[in-house]
C-alpha cells in the first residue's frame, strides 16, 4: 500500500485563549486544591465550635461586621476589572488588559486596606486560644492568597505594559482572572461564617 492515512491538523489554531486551553484546566485544578484547603479550614472551624458551649470564648469580642461588609464592595468591584482584563486577553486588546488589571489592583488594594483596619480592631490573636487560631488561619490564608494573586497580576500588568503580551502571556491574563474570581467567591461563605455565624447561631450562650 503506498497511501498512508493521515489526519492533517495544520488548519487548527496554534493557541487558544479560553476554557479549552490546557492552562485554564491547570488553573481550575489549582483552585480546587486551594478550595479543598479552605473547606478543611471551615470544617475545622465548626468542629472546634461544636466542642464548646460559648463561641467565641469569654473575653473575646465577636469581630465587627461593618468594615468586612464594606470591604465586600471593592472586592466585588475588583472582579469587574478582572473581567475587563480577561476580555482584553481574549480579544487581544492591550488597553483593556491594562485598564482591567489596574482596576483589579486598585480595588483589591482598597479591600486589603479595609482588612488591615479591621484586623487592628480584633482583640484576639492566633495564640490566644483555639478560636483565635482557626479564625486567624482562615483570615491569614485567604489574605496570603489574595496578595499572592495580586502580585502575579502586577507582574502580568508589567509584562503587558512593556509590550510583551504574546498569546502565552494573554492566556496568563485569562487564567489569572479565573483565580481571582475563585478567591472572591470563596471569601463570601467564609465572611458569613466568621462574621455572621457567631451572631446568628448560639450567640450570647
Amino acid at each position: 500500500m503506498t497511501q498512508a492515512r493521515v489526519l492533517d491538523v495544520s488548519s487548527l489554531p496554534p493557541y487558544e485563549i479560553s476554557n479549552r486551553s490546557p492552562l485554564w484546566a491547570g488553573q481550575l485544578l489549582m483552585c480546587m486544591i486551594e478550595g479543598a484547603l479552605f473547606v478543611i479550614l471551615i470544617a475545622t472551624y465548626f468542629y472546634l465550635r461544636l466542642g464548646v458551649d460559648v463561641w467565641p470564648p469569654p473575653g473575646t469580642r465577636i469581630p465587627g461586621t461593618l468594615i468586612p461588609t464594606l470591604a465586600l464592595i471593592p472586592l466585588i468591584a475588583s472582579c469587574v476589572g478582572s473581567w475587563i482584563a480577561d476580555e482584553g486577553a481574549k480579544s487581544n486588546s492591550r488597553g483593556k488588559m491594562l485598564w482591567g488589571s489596574a482596576i483589579n489592583l486598585a480595588m483589591a488594594g482598597v479591600f486589603l486596606a479595609l482588612r488591615a483596619v479591621e484586623w487592628a480592631g480584633l482583640n484576639f490573636r492566633w495564640n490566644t486560644d483555639a478560636h483565635g487560631s482557626i479564625v486567624w488561619d482562615m483570615l491569614f490564608l485567604h489574605t496570603y492568597d489574595v496578595v499572592a494573586d495580586l502580585l502575579v497580576t502586577a507582574v502580568l500588568l508589567a509584562i503587558v505594559a512593556i509590550g510583551r503580551d504574546g498569546p502565552k502571556q494573554r492566556i496568563g491574563v485569562h487564567v489569572d482572572s479565573v483565580l481571582w474570581y475563585f478567591l472572591v467567591a470563596i471569601w463570601i461563605p467564609m465572611y458569613v461564617i466568621i462574621y455572621w455565624g457567631p451572631r446568628l447561631v448560639g450567640a450570647g450562650r
Binding site: 489554531p13 496554534p14 493557541y15 491547570g26 464548646v52 495564640n127 490566644t128 487560631s133 499572592a148 507582574v155
Partner: protein, 634 residues
C-alpha cells in the same frame, strides 16, 4: 477550521526528525542538566531518587528486624528505635511510594496517550526538584540530631511542643510540605495531560487502564493533599512555632481532630499508592495474556469507585479513640465496601488470565505474587474493618502484618513487575528474565517469611512500636522467623539490583515492542526520542498496536520547528488546537532552591515563610518572564 482524515502518499508523511531533534534535545552541560523538562528524564529522576529512598527505608527496616530478632536485644535503645521506625514509615510513604508512582506515571502517561510531553513541563521539573530537596532536607536531620520519634502519623500531643522537644517533628512536618507540593504538581499536570492531550481518536473508553488509574489517583491527590497541609502545617508546625492551639485541649483545641484530618489524607494516601499499581497490573496482564482486559468498563468503574470510597474509610484508623459507635459502624460498612471494588478487578484479572494465552515472564511472576499477597492482605483488611476485632488487634503486629501485605503486595510487587515489563522501553536493553524470576522467588518467600509470622505475633498480643520484649512472652520464634525473612528480602533486593545493573550494561538490545503489546508506548523506539513520536498517532481502537500497521493513521501538519503538541477534546479526543510547550528552563530549579531556603528557615521562625514567598516570587517571575514579544504564528 477542522481536521479531516485523508490519504496521502506514504513517503510524504514523515516528520522532519532533524528538526524535531534540534527543538527537543536538552541543552548541553550542567546547567542544561538542571534545565531538563522532558517527561522521560524527569520521570526517571523520580524513579531513581525514590529507589534510593526505598533502600534507605529498607536499611531502617533491617535495623528494626535485627533489634527484634532476639528478646532483650540491646542493638538499639528505645529512643533510637522509635526514631528508626518513624523514619522507616515516613520514608516509605512520603519519599518512596508516592514519588515512585508519580515517576512511573510521568514516564509512561504521555507515551501511552500519544503525546510529546506532559501539559506543564516546567511544573513537572519544579515538582521533582521540590521532592528531591525535601528528601535531602529531611535526612539532613540525621546529621543535626533533628529526627522525630513520634511515628509516621505524628499524633498530638506526642508530637506537640511539650513531648517532642527539638526540631525533629518540625523537620518532619516541613518535609511533608515539599512532598505534597511535588505530588500536587504531578497530579495537576497528569490530569490535564490525560484529559486534554490524548491522541486523536483516543476517546475516554479507549484510554489505557494505567492512565485511568493515574487519572483517579491524581484526582485523589487533589482532594487528599490539602488535608495533610492542614495537619502538618497548621496543626503541628504552627502549634510548635507560633503558639497556635489547634491541637491543644487546654485552649479549646482537639488532638482527635488532628487524627481526623491526618487520616482524611492518610487513608486515601494508601490508595494513591495502590491505584497506579492496579493500573500496572492490568497493563502487564494485557500484554502477557495477549488479550484485552476482561470487563474493561467494570475495571474502570472499580478504579473510580475505589477513588470515591477511599475517602469514606478514614475513621477505621481511629476505632480505638472512643468515637460514637453509630458513626463507627458507617466506617465499618464503607471499609468492607472497598473489598467489592477491589474484588471486581481481581475477578476481571482472573478471567483475563483464564481466557488469554498466558506467557510467564518475570513481570507476570510479580503479578501472580501480587494477586496472592494482596488478596491475603485484603482479607485481613476486611477482618480489621470489624470494630470488635479491630479493638483487639489495634496496635498489635497483626495490623503491621496486614498493612505490609497490602502495601508491599499491593504496590511493591506490581511495581517490580512494571520494572521488568517496561525496563526495555527506557533503557533500550532487555532485562534478564531468569535473574528476574530468581529475584521474584527470593522476594516472595522472604516477604511471606517476614510478614506472615507477624499475624501470629499480633494475635499473641505483641504490640507495635516496642523496641524489645522479654523472652517469656513467647514471641521469640515468630520474631526470629521475621528477621530471617527480612534478610531474605534484602538478598532478593540485591539480586534485583544486580540484574538491573547487569542488564543495563550487557542486556540484549530491545526492539520497540518486545512483548507484542497493545498500547502506544510500544510504538516508539526503545528508548524513545525526546519528542516521543515522529508523527503523533491517530487511534481507532482500545488496542492501537493490535490493528494492522497498514490501517494505522497518524497526524500531519504539526510544526517540527517548535515544541508543538496537539490538544484534543475531553471525551472524544477530537483535535481541538495546537499548543506550543515552553522551552527547557533553569527557573523551575532556581524557584525550588529559593522556596527550599525559605521553607527550611520557616522551621525555625515563621518569618521564614516571608523569605520563601519572596524567593518563590522571584523564581516565578523568572519562570514566566518573556524575553521579548513572542507571537505564535500558525
Amino acid at each position: 477550521m477542522s481536521a479531516v482524515l485523508t490519504e496521502i502518499p506514504r513517503e510524504t508523511k514523515t516528520a522532519d526528525r532533524d528538526a524535531l531533534s534540534r527543538v527537543w534535545r536538552p541543552r548541553p552541560g550542567f546547567t542544561g542538566w538542571l534545565s531538563v523538562t522532558t517527561h522521560q528524564q524527569i520521570g526517571l529522576r523520580y524513579i531513581k531518587t525514590a529507589f534510593f529512598f526505598l533502600l534507605l527505608g529498607g536499611v531502617e527496616a533491617l535495623l528494626m528486624r535485627l533489634q527484634l530478632a532476639f528478646p532483650n536485644n540491646t542493638l538499639l535503645g528505645p529512643f533510637r528505635y522509635n526514631q528508626i521506625f518513624t523514619m522507616h514509615g515516613t520514608t516509605m510513604m512520603f519519599l518512596f511510594a508516592v514519588p515512585m508512582m508519580e515517576g512511573v506515571g510521568v514516564c509512561l502517561v504521555p507515551l501511552m496517550v500519544g503525546t510529546r510531553n506532559v501539559a506543564f513541563p516546567r511544573l513537572n521539573a519544579f515538582g521533582y526538584w521540590m521532592y528531591l530537596m525535601g528528601g535531602i532536607f529531611f535526612y539532613s536531620g540525621v546529621f543535626t540530631g533533628s529526627v522525630t520519634a513520634a511515628g509516621w502519623f505524628a499524633y498530638t500531643p506526642l508530637s506537640g511542643p511539650q513531648y517532642s522537644v527539638g526540631k525533629g517533628v518540625d523537620y518532619w512536618a516541613q518535609m511533608i510540605t515539599f512532598t505534597e507540593i511535588s505530588a500536587l504538581c504531578v497530579a495537576v499536570e497528569l490530569i490535564v495531560t490525560i484529559l486534554r492531550m490524548r491522541a486523536p481518536g483516543m476517546s475516554l473508553n479507549r484510554l489505557p487502564l494505567f492512565c485511568w488509574s493515574m487519572l483517579v489517583q491524581s484526582a485523589m491527590i487533589i482532594f487528599a493533599m490539602p488535608a495533610i497541609v492542614m495537619a502538618s502545617n497548621f496543626f503541628l508546625l504552627n502549634d510548635r512555632t507560633i503558639g497556635t492551639h489547634l491541637a491543644n485541649p487546654a485552649e479549646g483545641g482537639d488532638p482527635i481532630l488532628y487524627q481526623h484530618i491526618f487520616w482524611f489524607f492518610g487513608h486515601p494516601e494508601v490508595y494513591i499508592i495502590f491505584l497506579p499499581a492496579l493500573g500496572m497490573v492490568s497493563m502487564i496482564l494485557e500484554a502477557n495474556t495477549r488479550r484485552g482486559i476482561f470487563g474493561y468498563p467494570a475495571v474502570v468503574l472499580s478504579l473510580v469507585g475505589n477513588g470515591f470510597v477511599a475517602f469514606g474509610l478514614w475513621v477505621h484508623h481511629m476505632f480505638a479513640t472512643g468515637l460514637p459507635q453509630l458513626g463507627e459502624a458507617y466506617f465499618t460498612a464503607a471499609s468492607m465496601m472497598i473489598a467489592i471494588t477491589s474484588g471486581v478487578q481481581i475477578f476481571c484479572w482472573i478471567a483475563t488470565i483464564w481466557t488469554g494465552r498466558l506467557r510467564m515472564t518475570a513481570a507476570m511472576h510479580f503479578v501472580f505474587g501480587f494477586l496472592f499477597i494482596f488478596v491475603l492482605g485484603g482479607m485481613t483488611g476486611v477482618m480489621l474493618a470489624s470494630i470488635p476485632l479491630d479493638l483487639q488487634a489495634h496496635d498489635t503486629y497483626f495490623v503491621v502484618a496486614h498493612f505490609h501485605y497490602v502495601l508491599i503486595g499491593g504496590a511493591l510487587f506490581p511495581l517490580f513487575g512494571a520494572f521488568h515489563h517496561w525496563f526495555s522501553k527506557f533503557t533500550g536493553r532487555m532485562i534478564d528474565e531468569r535473574l528476574g524470576r530468581i529475584s521474584f522467588w527470593i522476594l516472595f518467600v522472604g516477604f511471606n517469611l517476614t510478614f506472615f509470622p507477624m499475624h501470629l505475633a499480633g494475635v499473641n498480643g505483641m504490640p507495635r512500636r516496642v523496641y524489645t520484649y522479654p523472652p517469656e512472652m513467647g514471641w521469640q520464634t515468630d520474631n526470629l522467623l521475621s528477621s530471617i525473612g527480612a534478610l531474605m528480602i534484602a538478598i532478593g533486593g540485591a539480586v534485583f539490583i544486580a540484574n538491573a545493573l547487569k542488564s543495563l550494561r550487557a542486556g540484549r538490545v530491545a526492539d520497540a515492542d518486545p512483548w507484542d503489546s497493545s498500547t502506544l508506548e510500544w510504538a516508539v523506539p526503545s528508548p524513545p526520542p525526546a519528542w516521543n513520536f515522529d508523527n503523533l498517532p491517530v487511534v481507532s481502537s482500545r488496542y492501537p498496536l493490535w490493528i494492522d500497521p497498514e490501517e494505522r493513521a497518524c497526524v500531519v501538519g504539526m510544526r517540527d520547528d517548535r515544541r508543538e503538541v496537539l490538544t484534543t477534546t475531553v471525551l472524544d479526543a477530537a483535535p481541538h488546537h495546537r499548543y506550543v510547550l515552553p522551552a527547557s528552563s533553569i527557573w523551575p530549579f532556581l524557584t525550588a532552591v529559593g522556596l527550599t531556603i525559605g521553607l527550611i528557615c520557616a522551621v525555625f521562625a515563621f518569618s521564614g515563610y516571608w523569605l520563601a514567598s519572596l524567593l518563590g516570587l522571584i523564581g516565578f517571575i523568572g519562570w514566566f518572564w518573556p524575553p521579548r514579544h513572542v507571537e505564535v504564528e500558525p
